[in-house]
Symmetry: D2
Subunit: 118 residues, 4 copies
């Protein structure tokens, strides 16, 4: 199934308008909500060791909860981009190009050092 970002943003806009929620969906509040949802996703993994965290997403119940938290993060992110007028496709292309410059394959291979420590 394909994900139509522009259409999703339109649906979120309507969802918010129908509930008179635009007053809450300020950029700062949405940035807060995004951090809160990202933390709820992290909570699923917080006590799992490496091995457990690797296999947990194969369990149906865990996968369902993970899917819900991933969705919550994505929906707030789309909403934030929408209310702030950020063109998601454009900024993502730009960021991927930046990452390729900051992390050349040769220097970055096999370790997780930050770009300023390569």
């Amino acid at each position: 199934m394909a994900l139509d970002i522009v259409q999703l943003q339109q649906r979120l806009r309507e969802f918010s308008a129908e509930r008179d929620w635009d007053q809450f969906h300020t950029p700062k509040n949405l940035a807060c909500a995004l951090s809160v949802e990202a933390a709820e996703l992290l909570e699923l993994f917080q006590w799992l060791n490496d091995e457990q965290a690797q296999t947990a997403p194969q369990q149906p119940e865990f996968a369902t909860r993970l899917g819900e938290e991933i969705s919550d993060v994505l929906l707030y992110l789309l909403r934030l981009a929408d209310v702030t007028g950020i063109d998601l496709a454009a900024v993502v292309e730009r960021k991927i190009a930046l990452n390729a410059l900051k992390y050349p394959a040769e220097q970055a291979r096999g370790h997780a050092r930050k770009y300023d420590q390569l």
Copy 2:
């Protein structure tokens, strides 16, 4: 510009493989990275009052940084969904339907109470 999620995930897969980074991109590490990036986005707003936070995204420099942080969150989210085998389009549809059930327009209108307090 349209955003092709499936193609983006493919590009991230190649980006990681070329750098031998799959060893770092475990579900738990990506969940951590997601929270870290969401917090970097929040940092842009942390000292702004409501009014400042509302207008800041109209400033080009702020918008550029916001676009970068939004991209970071999105890219880690796509990567996490990819390595855990989550079908983004399917879980998002399901979550939107759940939200519509949890927050009927009539009961949810004009306030931000949680669904279990409606």
Copy 3:
């Protein structure tokens, strides 16, 4: 009432030992838990505007929940310092001295710019 940090850490050590939880209280897991609890605290404020957020802590029910979340953050922080052997009093003194250097009163007065932009 005074807060005895060293004694608190001793009590948390016993609480964990009695439940055989030391296996979960690894530095990384506690760092995750800390972010999760900080986000639960943030959640209390996420939809409040500046004025509401200012007065909410005066409401008894809100204050109770805020107190619980503040406690959760503090307890995980104390536990993390304990399992990693960090001397809280020493690092806090050092950080306050660093902050005084990074943010001289004259240059930092009245704005929230980061030290590298003073």
Copy 4:
């Protein structure tokens, strides 16, 4: 070295007043800052596997950075408690008692299930 919480809060109050920062130290802003700092702490661990995360705090350079991040979280937490009028010692005692009720040693031993799943 002992940590005097009340005295620390007094010093932070003065630090903020000297810089005219009280205007920024609203409850919501401090809650944001707390999440941001908790994420900076988490960032130190994000790409480490279990074994690396366990030994990293023994390296002096890592321990220094960890101490700084732990301090940042603690200082914002003390400041938040101060501006919201939360009595830290009282809420912490109450939370420890709650945790003992929610997680009786017998039922909670050896696993990390949430209290509502015991």
